[in-house]
Subunit: 216 residues, 2 copies
């Protein structure tokens, strides 16, 4: 992992994949369309795949994303990230600790962390992490084991506890963009808004435009 | 992974852990006792643990095994192996391909492969693997998704297809040692014979003695 991905990454519109949700369209087409519509970063998240299936999907996405300079992050699995030379990993609280992942991935990798509580948000201040995933902002069915819904007020409070870039996640739609960016979000992380969209390119375009119009 | 583990490893008595089966005794005590009884190699196999739980167990076993020079192999997870500086990995057919794992782990790591068919045994000849796990020799309940039982004749046939060291696995007990070694096994891989033993030190001693007495 020689390239420095972390200095200038753009988490404005962050697609987190759900293979089950996009099975009709297929993961590769979903990602291709979503990036064409304006997605700036992609996380491959596979909770039930074997290592080999996960690796094959990561390779396929890397072949799409690398030529476009869009960072691919791997959920949980540092070995998959290393094998496909991904931009980095996204780690939950029961995944590898941040400093261990950093040691394996090197100084140029992007490492994102999910924070499930205010205490965890504070704790990440001393970690070598590049962004935080903060949520679920709204009620969501894509992560059945999620922590309590934050709402916009809860997001605002938790976001203020961290100096890291924060992406809002959890049933985020284009109509929430201004509210969440106003609450301090640096980007929107979306699952179903793109994975379940009939036209993910158009859906991504609307989301990205909502973000850009806030920034003026 | 700087140390060269693969040149001189001893697979005579290979403990493959099952955390559920040894929950009363605890994994660390099991491994300590089994190694005191004569286990020469240990594989940490965790099919339901989170990455962090897996890592914590790997660290605990490495702290026991490293001072004794007993190689610790990690089932499936190359990232865990890298994080704890394990001796290597054991890979099934749906895990990372051998050459990818070799690239990540380096030339000194031990890489073992499970072969489920004769064709796979032949195919490993062109892979940079250090040993094969061949089984299940007998009916087993510790790996519910296992391939058809080989029996001793099947083991003899499959073992002869490979020039690599082969360990026999699948309900292997001390009383099978001479038959299996005579059939070409280079070692015995055991799960329940040690993980479910009341006295794993004594059980390991009997298994090891059975191996050594064959070798005369």
């Amino acid at each position: 992992m020689t390239r420095d991905w972390r200095t200038n990454f753009d988490c404005s519109l962050y697609l987190v994949t759900d293979s089950g949700m996009c099975s009709a369209m297929g993961l590769e087409r979903l990602v291709t369309e979503a990036v064409a519509g304006g997605v700036t970063m992609v996380q491959l998240r596979e909770k039930h795949a074997s290592t080999r299936e996960f690796l094959d999907k990561a390779r396929a996405l890397q072949a799409i994303l690398q030529p476009q300079g869009v960072p691919l992050l791997i959920n949980d699995r540092v070995d998959i990230a290393l094998a496909v030379n991904a931009a980095g990993v996204h780690l939950g609280q029961s995944d590898m600790p941040c400093h261990v992942a950093r040691q394996l991935l090197g100084p140029g990798a992007i490492i994102g962390l999910t924070v499930d509580t205010d205490e965890q948000a504070v704790a990440t201040e001393s970690m070598d992490a590049d962004y935080l995933g903060v949520g679920p902002v709204f009620e969501t069915s894509t992560k059945p084991d999620h922590s309590p819904v934050l709402g916009v007020d809860g997001f605002t409070r938790r976001r203020a506890l961290s100096s890291r870039p924060c992406v809002a996640i959890g049933s985020v739609r284009a109509e929430h963009a201004h509210t969440l960016l106003d609450a301090g979000a640096d980007g929107l992380a979306v699952v179903s808004a793109l994975c379940a969209a009939g036209d993910p390119r158009q859906a991504a375009r609307e989301l990205r435009e909502a973000v850009e119009s806030f920034r003026g």
